[in-house]
């Protein structure tokens, strides 16, 4: 009912902007592709995706678009082209869609160069979840972890920090994660007020305090073990500072970080006592068989050893010298022990920094982010997605996915045929989720931006999408239940 109330005043506007007219019969042909927002020319979409809506941004007195697939054809008046879900379903069932955009200037219609929206029979997981957050640096207000049905436009809140935020006590939430795409097995962190880690496992929901004396922090970046009730975390001591000139705005650095494993069943933290505090381990991720833990790590020793500067200050002065490489460690499920580390890709030797290793469900591909330095690539314009074939050892930048701007946080669909990643390519400041098909040979198609009911939605949205993750279905725990659990005392983890 709330939705109905909210949408009522603008319902007519929406109708007016998305009607179903006749395409012009007489027109001149142009060899130029139309300019669209979002840019959907020649993208590949899964057969079960929600309709792709877009705005014709060419300077036209009037515009329209005709979408044709097989025997089905639909025409929409522009500039906002909004196929209905029914129309879209009829179109995608026919296969690839040809899109003709018509632009009228001085009462003359021009047909822009037609393009295709390729339809892949490979279905995509029906849900994704993400955090919606304004790209601020210190201040925050309302943060939400949301889930989106990819087959429709329906979006729901999993949890909002405002449910437990007062003027005097703010709450940050982050790092939602699922075991094997299962929405019934999730975790996310609550920081500051009523802090802890919320873990739901097959109906049991609890808040855990993972901070023990053995680690520099509570668990931060999580990775669910694929089969066991275990979550690997990095523990991080993080700081940030601001660029005075660069449009990359902010630099986030870990001065200390390490790995730990948390036993969900027994509330037990496994952390190694002996560690080199100059090794900064981060972003763990399990191999599909759960026998290997991949992660990235940088070795950083203070440059300025003579002076009594802090490590934080020293790192700020030399932030471009902090470079991460990819490693892995075997894992003994019985003893919960990690083996010796093994280099997977020595990015630092190439004067590069590799982060966020994510293994494809078939175990063959390792997708990671490659930038010139640092760990927080989500603010680095040189950050690109890179694919490593774990069978052949071949590695390549995924030029078909990357843009001149930030391309970072990524995750595989459960089938391994789709990836979703964050990119700031639209405006350099706000991350948007992009989805691309990836075949068995590791070749990706041109990515498409997460479709929205109204095509200008992302252009106006003053928030970023954070940590997009696929799910096999929706999280069914009600937000108010999560809010209630967060208000309760946390279960204390033991070392």
């Amino acid at each position: 009912m709330k939705s109905a109330l909210r949408f009522l005043p603008i319902f007519l506007l929406t109708l007016a902007s998305c009607s179903n007219p006749q395409a012009p019969e007489q027109y001149a042909d142009s060899q130029q592709l139309p300019t669209l927002y979002p840019e959907y020319t020649d993208v590949t979409v899964p057969i079960n995706i929600a309709p792709l809506t877009f705005t014709v941004t060419d300077t036209c007195d009037a515009s329209m678009a005709r979408l044709t697939a097989g025997s089905v054809s639909r025409t929409y008046a522009g500039p906002d082209i909004c196929p209905t879900e029914k129309d879209w379903k009829a179109l995608v069932e026919q296969g690839d869609i040809e899109v003709e955009v018509f632009c009228q200037t001085n009462r003359q219609w021009t047909r822009m160069k037609p393009f295709a929206i390729h339809v892949s029979p490979d279905k995509i997981d029906p849900y994704i979840s993400y955090r919606i957050i304004a790209p601020s640096y210190v201040a925050y207000e309302d943060l939400t972890i949301r889930q989106r049905n990819l087959e429709t436009y329906d979006e729901e809140i999993i949890y909002s920090n405002m449910a437990n935020t007062t003027e005097s006590d703010g709450q940050c939430i982050n790092c939602h994660s699922y075991q094997n795409y299962d929405p019934n097995r999730l975790q996310f962190h609550v920081r500051q007020y009523l802090g802890g880690t919320v873990i739901a496992y097959d109906g049991k929901v609890e808040k855990v305090d993972m901070k023990t004396g053995a680690t520099v922090s509570a668990g931060v970046y999580p990775a669910w073990h694929p089969t066991e009730k275990l979550i690997a975390y990095s523990t991080n001591k993080t700081g940030q500072s601001f660029h005075t000139q660069s449009n990359e705005k902010v630099e986030v650095q870990d001065t200390y970080s390490d790995l730990m494993i948390y036993d969900v069943e027994n509330h037990k933290v496994y952390a190694e006592a002996a560690r080199d505090t100059n090794d900064l381990d981060c972003f763990p991720f399990w191999s599909p068989d759960g026998k290997t833990l991949y992660y990235c790590s940088a070795h950083y020793e203070k440059f300025d050893t003579a002076q009594a500067t802090t490590k934080e200050f020293d790192m700020i002065q030399h932030y471009k010298e902090v470079r991460y490489s990819l490693y892995r460690r075997s894992f003994d499920i019985a003893t919960r022990q990690l083996g010796e580390r093994e280099m997977v890709y020595d990015a630092a030797a190439d004067s590069l920094s590799a982060t966020l290793p994510r293994i494809s469900p078939d175990g063959r591909w390792l997708l990671f982010t490659l930038g010139k330095y640092g760990v927080f690539h989500i603010w680095h314009k040189d950050a690109d997605l890179c694919l490593l074939d774990l069978q052949s050892g071949q590695m390549r930048l995924m030029d078909e996915l990357n843009s001149p701007d930030v391309d970072s946080y990524h995750s595989w669909s459960s089938s391994g045929r789709w990836i979703i990643f964050s990119s700031r390519r639209n405006d350099g400041n706000f991350t948007r989720p992009f989805i691309a098909h990836i075949d068995k040979q590791g070749r990706a198609t041109k990515p498409f931006e997460l479709p929205q009911r109204h095509p200008q939605y992302h252009h106006e949205l003053m928030r970023s999408y954070n940590v997009p993750e696929f799910m096999l279905g929706p999280v069914t725990i009600q937000p108010n239940k999560l809010a209630k659990i967060i208000r309760q005392e946390a279960v204390k983890a033991t070392p």
Binding site: S136, A139, E141, T244, Q245, N247
Partner: protein
């Protein structure tokens, strides 16, 4: 006769409200203009959706829409029109006749009190459209009451139920006021079947106490459980500083203002005098209370007026306001005023001659919490001093915390243009192009996207671009805008004369002798080919004072010269030297005075010198 009394009373109410409007227009124009800059309304579905994630979102959405009209004087008259409508609705809803019509003015007056008490909250209140919310809240509540009056018995009851169900999501807590006003239509109750009257009370309780909980459990997931009943009401709390009691009095007055109108219609004849006296007492009490409670002062008005001048690049206007005594009592200036004055002088090229001609001060803003420079002018100062990423950052931080504003979008646009972040500038420009009053502004700046050569000719950006030419580094301001700017410039090195002069000014303000000399030396060298160059008075004063304090320093600037020869290189005016001698002599005469006494004694003769600033202006606490 009764009609005549009604007419006269109506005209009196109208006249009073129009007079109030005129007064608001005369005294609050700059504040209201600023308030609309600190608000935002976009004609899009997304904006509506964003507004309505909280209960009462439709009301705040409407209020934000109305707020944009404060861009012109029409905004005040629209508000006065709304108050008149409220008075008319009250008359109708409670059948006020004769002199009792006068009672209808009390609610608009209470609304005016809420409106006028805002003060520095215009920077901090998170409630969208907060200046209009109470007025629209009362209007919707009274509208509901009037519909209720018009509908016969069961239809009226059906309306009561329907309104009770939908009011909370649409109007938040103001929905409860509507239900209350319907329930208090006592004459209507007389004609209702008894069962309706019996049912209304429990329904009221359900709609006001239970339904909000249900809504927040299942639909509004972003409401903290203790805030459920405060939906669409402003929250006068900043962090741990809770000012609720100081500001909510006006809301209690608003509720009280309904009482005479609600019961006035049923009083016996002959009580008009009593009613009138009661009403006047209420108004007088409200005014007296308000006079003691409002956090508005000279500096508040001056700050918003100076800010507006800067927006218009009216640098002389900034100085005029700084000097002006037209704003009532004279207080020492706040830091933001001092910084805005310095910016204006810098832009006019007169900082070196006049920056100490104005009163110094670090007066705390008249608010129950510590107002931060980042909110009241820091972003603008960062922008004009070429610290574009910090301007952008604080626009973003404040947008996130206090809500997106036209002001924030404009500064994010301008700072993005200067840093050549074209795509994001386009985003904000596209948003501003959809607004009613800022589209021309957006179109103007749209022309600059991708055109640094046009920016270099732009009157506003031309002096900023050289200020923004320095190498990138990682840094942080710790929310102290003034200290950051002073340190960044005083320690900065720039080849641009404009930038270089700023380094000299900041070293002067910091009273840092070590930083001053190389910057002063740089200034002399940069301008040595300018035959008409005259070293501004304050720079001379500083150089002369410092060369007296540490005679060896000039020769360090000109290696190979003796102290005397080096001092000769500095073209000191005779007046500068003489004033220094006079200052020192006077200081000897006043030897037994305390520093505070000296401040007063020296001010008439030496208050406009660097000597006075150096010796007698201390501990200017920045915010």
């Amino acid at each position: 006769m009764k009609h005549l009394r009604t007419l006269v009373a109506s005209l009196l109410v109208l006249g009073l409200l129009i007079g109030l409007g005129g007064w608001v227009l005369g005294s609050e124009t700059d504040v209201l203009f600023r308030a609309q800059e600190l608000s935002l309304w976009l004609p899009s579905r997304h904006f509506y959706d964003t507004s309505t994630i909280y209960p009462g979102g439709t009301l705040t959405w409407m209020a934000a829409y109305m707020t944009q009209y404060f861009y012109t004087d029409a905004g005040v008259w629209l508000l006065v029109g709304a108050w008149c409508l409220i008075a008319i609705q009250l008359v109708h809803a409670y059948r006020l006749r004769g002199t009792r019509v006068l009672l209808s003015v009390l609610v608009p007056l209470a609304l005016a009190a809420i409106f006028l008490q805002t003060g520095y909250w215009i920077y901090y209140l998170k409630l969208q459209g907060h200046l209009w919310v109470p007025t629209l809240g009362v209007m919707t509540a009274l509208l509901a009451a009037n519909v209720h009056r018009l509908l016969p018995r069961w239809w009226g009851f059906a309306w009561y139920v329907l309104y009770g169900v939908v009011a909370y999501p649409l109007f938040g807590a103001w929905g409860g006021l509507g239900l209350l006003l319907m329930a208090l239509q006592l004459d209507k109750a007389k004609t209702n079947p008894k069962i309706i009257n019996i049912a209304m009370a429990p329904l009221f309780v359900v709609c006001v106490s239970l339904l909000p909980i249900i809504y927040c459990q299942w639909f509004f997931h972003q409401v903290e459980h203790t805030c459920i009943y405060k939906a669409a009401l402003p929250c006068y709390q900043l962090g741990t500083i809770d000012c609720t009691q100081q500001y909510h009095w006006a809301y209690y007055v608003l509720l009280a203002a309904f009482v005479p109108a609600v019961v006035g219609g049923y009083w016996n004849k002959g009580r008009e005098l009593l009613v009138g006296v009661l009403g006047l007492l209420l108004v007088a009490g409200g005014v007296l209370w308000a006079d003691n409670r409002w956090y508005r002062d000279t500096n508040f008005y001056k700050e918003v007026a100076m800010y507006r001048c800067i927006e218009n690049l009216d640098w002389e206007g900034v100085l005029r306001v700084m000097r002006s005594h037209d704003y009532g009592e004279t207080k020492p200036p706040t830091r933001v005023m001092v910084m805005e004055k310095n910016l204006a002088l810098f832009r006019l090229g007169r900082a070196g001659d006049e920056m100490f001609h104005y009163p110094e001060g670090a007066e705390r803003q008249n608010a129950p919490w510590e107002v931060r420079l980042t909110q009241v002018g820091g972003k603008m100062l960062y922008y004009h001093y070429g610290k574009e990423q910090f301007c952008y950052r604080w626009c973003m931080e404040d947008g996130v915390e206090f809500g997106w504003t036209v002001d924030g979008l404009k500064y994010m646009t301008k700072s993005s243009l200067i840093t050549h972040d074209w795509k994001v500038a386009r985003k904000y420009i596209d948003m501003l192009k959809t607004t009613r009053f800022h589209r021309e502004w957006a179109k103007k700046y749209e022309q600059l996207i991708g055109h640094p050569e046009l920016m270099a000719q732009d009157e506003e950006m031309k002096p900023i671009i050289p200020m923004a030419a320095y190498p990138d580094r990682l840094d942080g301001d710790m929310t102290l805008v003034e200290m950051y700017l002073l340190k960044a410039f005083a320690n900065g090195v720039g080849a641009e004369p404009y930038y270089q002069e700023m380094t000299l000014i900041c070293s002067l303000i910091m009273k840092d002798i070590d930083l001053f000399w190389p910057r002063f030396h740089g200034y002399i060298n940069m301008h040595r080919n300018d035959k008409e160059m005259r070293v501004p008075t304050h720079y001379q004063e500083a150089a002369y004072l410092y060369s007296m304090l540490e005679p060896q320093r000039p020769s360090e600037m000109w290696p190979g010269l003796t102290n005397a020869e080096a001092a000769e290189r500095i073209p000191f005016d005779e007046g500068v030297k003489q004033k220094y001698k006079d200052f020192m002599n006077f200081n000897t005469q006043c030897g037994s005075m305390s520093e505070e006494q000296k401040k007063v004694a020296f001010a008439p003769m030496y208050g406009d010198t660097f000597y006075y600033f150096y010796f007698l202006v201390r501990n200017q606490k920045t915010n």
